[in-house]
């Protein structure tokens, strides 16, 4: 009783003014956004066209600002990751198959299908070294993660070569693969360890310190291996073969940890991406089916998937996770840059970590924040202040916001309301106003009172929307009514002719669609019936 009394004392009359509202539309039954999907969809898409032929390889410089090299046809283009514009081009005699940066970002190695591996200074056009030893097309070239002196390359001759770049000589020929060597990656923890994958279905792990040209571990993927990538821990590798991606534990003796087979076509490239600065690592794979998928190998789940309009050949994620580059087989590079805000946030986070250490920055901050009456912000202070927990909030009762047609409806100026909402070009609002007029029994009168220009407006609207499923029930009936009541006026006028012609065409089209739908229903209904039994 007491409680009820209190409730009654507090209640206040709700506003009795109801603006016309369009019918609510269904909410999409999308799954709640996961951190993964939020992160991976926050790259602002930016596509770079005009590159000829397919993008065979992408590599990021390990040094900020992390410019990236894109290998396409006989050219390697160097892009700035800030502006996503090309800054330099390196030309080759044959199609470039792979490209890799040295750990300091100063040198760039690239292999081409003639079997040559070339090393460039990123600031100069001419090759510093040209390493010729492969007897067939070279398929991959890789700088070790920290080592600046050596290179690993592999090719269609089935030989993996360990190079001394300065001398331009092969230190060791690693023989063991029985088919084309297509890919390889260097261990992030040990500069002399690297793994290579071949079309003979195997992945072989080599150690350059072992002289007898014998692999130290072998893994069978079960399919021709297209790409291989070391996971940052150094103990695990991910391999791609056909439409599957498999993760192997090297330390545990080549045991498969998990596999992902959600691609429909051959997976062409793998990359490791980190979600933000402190985020977890994900395997990013791209495939000929046009999908880029993000694979959480910790949970064994695909957490994000994105479709591109072309078969994908290569993928790369910048070391600071701000740029993602996907290369298509049609010469398109689908670059994606982290949105500014998201990046700022991260930077701020970084800054806050920094300021913890530097007293100076803290002082700067406080000085910046101090507001003086000479600042404009001084007068706005407190406006965006959030209430703290124990503050008492005084709520202001909000008035109902009325649009123009609402105000006119409130004044019973029905025709003007209809015209005003027709001018706004929001079909849902127009239909809502029409429904309100129906409820007031005024729509017929409004139609008969419309002047010529307004009638044209209405006819134009009807022509455009009368076959839209959501509105058609009301609008078709109204169209009929308009044509009945205003027939003679519409008939004579030249300006209505086009509208009427379009209207007729729309309606005919709709009828055709309906008929074909009925046909389909006729086909399906017996099937459903049978399935129902």
């Amino acid at each position: 009783m007491e409680e009820e009394l209190r409730v009654r004392l507090n209640d206040h009359q709700p506003s009795k003014i109801f603006p016309v509202k369009p019918k609510s539309t269904p909410k999409t039954l999308s799954k709640p956004e996961t951190p993964d999907s939020r992160y991976w969809s926050s790259f602002k898409p930016h596509s770079i066209p005009n590159l000829v032929s397919s993008i065979s390889a992408v590599a990021f410089s390990p040094i900020p600002p992390h410019s990236f090299a894109v290998a396409h046809s006989t050219t390697v283009s160097l892009f700035s990751s800030n502006t996503l514009t090309t800054s330099r081009r390196f030309s080759f005699k044959d199609v470039v198959s792979s490209v890799s940066f040295r750990s300091d970002g100063a040198l760039l190695a690239a292999s081409d299908l003639s079997g040559t591996v070339q090393v460039f200074d990123v600031k100069e056009r001419m090759a510093l070294r040209s390493l010729r030893s492969h007897k067939a097309a070279a398929r991959f070239v890789k700088y070790p993660v920290h080592d600046k002196l050596h290179l690993v390359s592999g090719g269609d001759d089935g030989v993996v070569k360990y190079w001394d770049v300065a001398g331009g000589t092969v230190i060791s020929d690693l023989i063991g693969h029985k088919d084309y060597v297509r890919c390889g990656d260097c261990s992030p923890v040990n500069d002399s360890m690297f793994a290579t994958g071949s079309y003979d279905h195997t992945i072989k792990v080599w150690d350059a310190r072992v002289g007898n040209s014998k692999w130290i571990a072998e893994i069978n993927h079960g399919a021709p291996v297209e790409d291989i990538v070391y996971l940052p821990s150094g103990g695990m590798i991910a391999t791609a073969g056909l439409n599957s991606v498999k993760v192997w534990d090297l330390i545990g003796g080549g045991r498969m940890v998990c596999s992902m087979e959600s691609h429909n076509k051959t997976v062409t490239c793998l990359s490791v991406g980190r979600m933000g600065l402190e985020g977890e690592n994900r395997i990013v794979s791209c495939s000929l089916d046009g999908y880029m998928k993000v694979f959480d190998y910790g949970r064994g789940k695909v957490t994000y998937s994105m479709r591109f309009p072309a078969p994908l050949m290569s993928v790369g994620i910048s070391p600071d996770s701000s740029v993602r580059v996907v290369g298509g087989s049609n010469g398109m590079v689908f670059a994606g840059k982290k949105k500014k805000k998201a990046r700022d946030e991260e930077e701020k986070k970084k800054a806050s970590v920094m300021s913890f250490w530097s007293v100076k920055s803290e002082v700067d901050e406080s000085r910046r924040r101090a507001l003086r009456p000479s600042y404009f912000r001084y007068f706005q202070r407190g406006q965006s202040e959030k209430p703290s927990k124990d503050d008492y909030l005084v709520k202001e009762s909000k008035g109902v916001k009325l649009t123009r047609h609402d105000k006119l409806l409130k004044k019973f100026r029905h025709k003007e309301a209809l015209v005003s909402v027709l001018e706004e070009k929001k079909p849902a609002d127009v239909v809502a106003v029409m429904e309100e007029l129906v409820a007031r029994r005024k729509i017929v009168k409004c139609v008969s009172n419309l002047e010529e220009g307004e009638l044209g407006l209405l006819l134009g609207f009807l022509q455009r929307y009368c076959t839209v499923e959501r509105y058609s029930k009301l609008l078709m009936a109204l169209t009929k009514k308009v044509l009945e009541t205003r027939g003679e006026e519409i008939n004579g006028k030249e300006e209505f002719k086009g509208i009427l012609r379009n209207l007729k065409r729309e309606v005919n089209q709709e009828i055709k669609i309906q008929q074909s739908l009925l046909e389909i229903q006729g086909v399906i209904a017996p099937l459903m019936r049978i399935a129902g039994r």
Binding site: P26, V438, A439
Partner: protein
């Protein structure tokens, strides 16, 4: 029931043939059923606002539910239906329709005189409980029929509108006439404080004795006058009755001028009142004489002499008095008659002087200015007329007489027919009739209101207007309080709004139960505009202004309103949008409503179904899901909730039903919960008219026009089809957790039938027009609200028994066809009933009648019966002479067929002459059932006899 348990031979079936309940044995080898019921399972088309349904459920065709027994029974039913027309004649010849089997009743009625003894002896046959009258209507109600003193009963829903309310002198209380009593409400909280009880008929006038000095403000005395002819004087702070004056004629209105003009000298022994009475002697004769009289009445003398009559009119009129107490008047068609009160109220001989003001339209309301000689009158067209300086000639007070005479021959603008007024001006803003007119206490403003539901404030000197719009209901009264910041406006929807004055904001509302909405034709008779929350005793009522009012029946208080459709209500407009149905889930946490927007000239029109989730803290509902056009264009005929799960079913006239489920249980927060379509079903494209879930929720019964289809609601499989009734079913209800199913159909042939869902056969049926059905959740009791046919009610012997009551509540127990109790009620048309099951496991029955007055009572309580012995007598008489035929084929199966009896009585002559041995052979135990040969012989004899008599 003598049903053969052997599944291989078809059991005898109790069937309904024509209007009669008969026993019949289907052929030993039943015909295979006709083509299996075609059940079309449409793909689950998503409703516009909903995501696509989650699952598609297939429907197994027809009734092959695996049970052989069920198969045969179904077959039997079908055969029975096929032959129904033949059997119709058979039965008539048998005379089964006659009140042959009324022996049970006869026995009962014979023992009426010694009821108690009989009850002991024939306890199993006679009604266990007798009846009392719960007439839930008060206007006009014979005093003897008022059981308001009963302890177990709660009556409520009384109208606040019968006469204007009144503020107390300190403006802290508001006195409202509510039927026979005056309720005192607190102006601060809007809750009822106390009530003045004593009148035995509706109170028509309420006069608070005004305070002349500040010290007197605490005084709280009032006069009331009532239709019972009593004038009473109260101290309403007590409340205490101080004085009663018997005027002996119904008083429709009363004014006491001296209370206003000379408040200091108020001496209750010397008061003179002017009353508007209806002369009862003339009413009885039914003559066209003038029944309404305005009379002078000396409250001291307690006598009303005819000599004091001032005016006679056709109808009793209400008297309006000027705030100064100098004048009073009545409106009579296009005229206003005004009298001046003779000064020196004590003098008996002074005769009031009279004048008349004329207008061309019927005057609806008028008011006197508090200080000046100004009358404002409102007419039916919405005009407000202001007469200034009225009565300078005719009603002049002695000293002013001469000076005024000199201005007589001046031109008086706007004044008609040489009326005695200086000028008459007209203001026109209202588009419909003006009902409310009142001057402010200082006379600077005039308040007017009417059917549009807008309170208009006119500045009297300039004619400038201010408005309080969107009240949403026609205004009836406007009163101001002694406190200048408080006034009150009374609306036709039983709401009293308290206004904060200069700003005219509604600060508080004393909310009575709202009157029912007027529904479009199609939905009439399906009245599901009232839903009950059984545990808390809250009723959800559809109202005119697109709202659902939540009304606490136990406290007689409105709780809140849910705006179902976001529109402003324009009272008096054509109905274009209407809330047609409301349903509450069993625990009261979910509400579902349907609304219809009617098309204009074929354009537009929309049916929408809405689901609301309750907010437990403030007892209101928030919108959860809107479904536009849940059944394409077709209207929703019924909504029913699953008893335990969040599942609902809506049926449509378009021939399908949809099962809706709430998807809140899927790791989503409450806010996101929405209702989606789970399954669609239809049966032979027949319009679906009613639906009900069984007590445990495993079976869904849907009425497809005139057959009942039973479904598994989870898998959407048709379980079986119950045999057809002849008319479309409008109500369905499972009886508690038992296997019995109650079905009611109204038009063209009313019928109440109880089906056994495990045996798939009819148990029994009555020819009764049913308005509402309810069944208790736990016990096997159910109650129906039946309309008593007019022809029956009007017959002379019963007229005094029914006394204007047109319905009866019958309480049944399980499959027993004999009602446990019967109550007759008023205004049953459009009424509804429900059991209320509070936490005390106490079963109560709530009945809300057609004008939303209600009564809550304990159907099993005994003292109610004892307390209302008079009613009991009256009703027993009715049962005795009436033709409620309870007949029992096997000692249990009754037949109620009133109309048939009437016919039979007129046709009875040829039959009476003949001997009818078959009449007796049926009335006994099954064991004594005669062989078929014997039956046939008798039967054919009767045929021949009949044809003979016809030929002759």
């Amino acid at each position: 029931m003598p049903i053969n348990k052997d599944p291989s031979t078809p059991p005898p079936v109790i069937g309904k043939i024509g209007p009669y309940t008969v026993f019949m044995t289907p052929p030993a080898t039943p015909k295979p059923p006709e083509s299996p019921a075609a059940v079309s399972q449409k793909p689950n088309l998503p409703p516009p606002v909903l995501p696509p349904p989650q699952q598609f459920k297939s429907v197994a065709s027809s009734a092959q539910d695996g049970s052989v027994l069920g198969f045969f029974k179904n077959a039997a039913t079908k055969v029975q239906n096929a032959h129904s027309s033949v059997d119709d004649h058979l039965v008539r010849w048998f005379g089964l329709n006659q009140s042959k089997y009324q022996w049970a009743l006869d026995e009962y009625y014979e023992g009426k005189g010694s009821k108690n003894r009989k009850k002991q002896e024939e306890g199993f046959r006679a009604f266990k409980r007798t009846k009392f009258c719960a007439s839930a209507s008060f206007y006009p109600e014979p005093p003897s029929a008022s059981p308001s003193t009963l302890a177990a009963m709660i009556r409520g829903g009384r109208s606040h509108l019968t006469s204007p309310p009144s503020f107390s002198n300190d403006a802290k209380k508001l006195l409202v006439c509510t039927g026979n009593t005056v309720s005192v409400f607190s102006a601060a909280t809007g809750l009822q404080i106390t009530s003045l009880e004593g009148h035995t008929a509706p109170v028509t006038t309420l006069l608070v004795v005004p305070a002349s000095t500040a010290a007197q403000k605490i005084l709280s005395y009032c006069w009331t006058a009532s239709l019972d002819g009593m004038i009473r004087y109260w101290d309403f702070s007590g409340p205490e009755l101080l004085k009663t004056v018997d005027a002996k004629v119904p008083i429709y209105s009363m004014v006491i001028p001296s209370l206003l003009s000379e408040p200091q000298q108020v001496d209750s022994s010397k008061l003179v009142a002017y009353v508007s009475v209806e002369d009862a002697s003339l009413v009885k004769e039914g003559s066209k004489e003038l029944r309404g009289h305005i009379r002078r009445f000396d409250l001291a003398k307690e006598r009303l002499s005819r000599g004091d009559t001032l005016k006679e009119t056709e109808e009793p009129k209400s008297i309006v008095i000027s705030p100064s107490g100098e004048f009073f008047g009545i409106r009579h068609k296009c005229k206003i008659h005004v009298w001046g009160v003779p000064s020196g109220g004590g003098s008996r001989n002074a005769v009031a002087k009279k004048m008349t003001l004329h207008h061309t339209k019927v005057i609806n309301a008028f008011a006197f200015h508090p200080t000046e000689r100004i009358i404002a009158a409102g007419d039916v067209t919405g005009r407000v007329l202001i007469w200034r300086g009225f009565g300078n000639r005719k009603l002049a007070l002695g000293s002013q007489k001469k000076s005024v005479r000199s201005v007589v021959d001046l031109d008086n603008p706007g004044v008609r027919d040489g009326d005695d007024a200086e000028s008459c001006t007209t203001w026109h803003w209202h588009s419909a009739e003006v009902n409310v007119l009142n001057f402010s206490s200082d006379g600077a403003y005039l308040y007017s209101g009417g059917r549009e539901g807008v309170l208009v404030v006119w500045q009297l000197d300039t004619g400038k207007k201010k408005f309080l719009p969107r009240i949403g209901s026609p205004l009836l009264y406007f009163i101001w309080s002694p406190e200048p910041t408080l006034s009150s406006v009374v609306c036709a929807d039983n709401q009293i709004h308290l206004l904060k004055m200069p700003s005219m904001e509604i600060s508080r509302t004393i909310s009575g139960i709202k009157p029912p909405p007027s529904l479009p034709k199609m939905y009439e008779g399906l009245s599901s505009t009232v839903a009950f929350d059984r545990s808390s005793g809250i009723a959800a009522l559809c109202t005119e202004n697109y709202c659902v009012q939540l009304y606490n029946l136990l406290n007689d208080r409105g709780i809140s309103e849910v705006q179902v459709c976001e529109r402003n209500h324009q009272p008096g407009d054509e109905i274009t949008v209407v809330v047609t149905a409301v349903a509450l889930s069993l625990d009261g946490s979910v509400m579902s409503t349907t609304e219809v927007k009617l098309p204009e000239d074929g354009i537009g029109g929309l049916v929408s179904l809405k689901f609301w989730e309750s907010e437990p803290d403030n007892k209101t509902f928030t919108l959860s899901t809107i479904v536009y056009e849940p059944h394409k264009d077709a209207g929703v005929s019924a909504i029913a909730f699953h008893p335990t799960r969040s599942m609902a079913v809506s049926t449509s006239f378009g021939g399908d039903f949809k099962i809706w489920v709430c998807n809140s249980d899927k790791s989503q927060t409450d806010k996101d919960s929405s209702w989606i379509c789970h399954a669609v079903g239809s049966y032979k494209k027949k319009p679906m008219t009613a639906a009900a879930f069984s007590g445990d929720g495993t079976v869904l019964a849907v009425a497809a026009e005139n057959v009942i289809t039973l479904w598994n609601p989870n898998k959407n499989i048709l379980l079986s089809v119950l045999g057809a009734t002849l008319t479309p079913i409008t109500k369905l209800s499972f009886v508690g957790k038992s296997e019995f199913l109650v079905a009611a159909s109204n038009f063209p042939k009313p019928e109440l039938s109880v089906w056994n869902t495990s045996k798939l056969s009819l148990s029994w049926s009555y020819e009764l027009r049913i308005e509402a059905v309810t069944s208790a959740v736990d016990s096997s009791t159910f109650a129906v609200l039946a309309l008593v046919p007019k022809s029956f009610r009007k017959s002379k012997s019963k007229k005094n028994i029914f006394r204007g009551r047109d319905g009866a509540i019958l309480l049944f127990n399980g499959s027993d066809p004999k009602p446990v109790s019967i109550w007759t009620v008023m205004k049953a048309q459009g009424g509804s009933i429900s059991f209320l099951e509070g936490d005390k496991s106490q079963l109560r029955l709530a009945y809300v009648n057609g004008s939303h007055e209600y009564v809550v009572f304990d159907p099993n309580s005994d003292d109610t019966h004892e307390r209302s012995a008079i009613d009991y007598e009256g009703l027993v008489g009715d049962e005795e002479t009436g033709d409620f035929g309870y007949t029992s084929l096997y000692g249990q199966l009754p037949d109620y067929d009133k109309k048939r009896k009437d016919d039979a009585e007129s046709l009875a002559t040829p039959f009476v002459s003949s001997e009818r041995p078959w009449e007796t052979i049926f009335s006994g135990s099954t064991l004594n059932f005669p062989p078929l040969q014997k039956l046939c012989g008798e039967f054919f004899e009767s045929l021949m006899e009949k044809s003979n008599s016809v030929v002759e």
